[in-house]
Subunit: 133 residues, 2 copies
DNA sequence: AGGAAAGTTGACGCATACGTAAACGTAACG
DNA sequence: CGTTACGTTTACGTATGCGTCAACTTTCCT
């Protein structure tokens, strides 16, 4: 394996982000790339986390929320207390996302209605034009 | 009808936002309440728009994006050029939302997997505890 | 008339999420 | 050995989305 880890530029290209963003995420403890000298090397784990971070962002979560949620995907056999706390957080998160999904479906439905109305209007205008020709 | 329009406080209570927020949205031309003297009165139209604004925010759209999208719900028989431009925007928006929905479904699936794993771990810990007792 | 209640317009403040420029390290290439 | 490329830290700058006074007006109550 030649691509066990990625340097910062490869990472940026792979995820379409800037170096600044990756360093920022590291500062916020969302990522923890290893160092080769002073250079960052991003592991498979970092890549998985970044994917989740970007996804979280698209769903409107703040970086701080995301930081906490990242643990959900790395439940590492800790204490029962910690694990169950994480699990509860996950339940909330799940409920959140399912609510968002429901709302999204409603919004899609409404938008489609509006578009049908608009399409009809456009069709009428097109007809008038044809008739006038 | 006594509730044809709402004053700012009623509007805030109805949508759980602050006066500052409503004034801010007006400044950004997302809302355009009528005036009674210098006081704002929010019409049915404003209420519909605010609902869409808040929804848009939950889906991670910026206020500026939302401002443009609001026209989608008020396609007011304008010029064909304008109307068709709005329609195109709507198509993009729709594609956006459906993509988001797909991603959301994927995310929900993954999270559920993680939770199943976590639940199992917790069950094992519970068993050990019972056995030890 | 006097004062609280509700609303208004500035104007500055602040957290989030980076952008951007400066100054420096280091490693390879010709 | 210079310089080009790539990366680093430090630090200040910036857009977004409001929060939070301050200073007034308007209205309604007593």
């Amino acid at each position: 394996m030649t691509t066990e880890t990625l340097n910062i530029r490869q990472m940026c290209d792979a995820f379409d982000v800037t170096p600044r963003t990756l360093r920022f995420y590291e500062a916020k403890e969302l990522l923890s790339p290893v160092r080769e000298g002073q250079k960052r090397l991003f592991t498979k784990r970092d890549r998985a986390r970044l994917k989740l971070i970007l996804r979280g962002k698209r769903f409107g979560f703040s970086l701080e929320e995301i930081r906490q949620l990242l643990d959900l995907y790395h439940m590492n056999d800790g204490q029962e207390a910690q694990l169950s706390k994480t699990y509860v957080l996950a339940e909330k998160h799940l409920a959140d996302m399912e609510a968002q999904k429901a709302e999204l479906e409603e919004a899609i439905g409404e938008l489609k209605e509006q578009m049908a109305w608009g399409a009809e209007k456009l069709a009428q205008l097109a007809k008038k034009k044809t008739a006038a020709a």
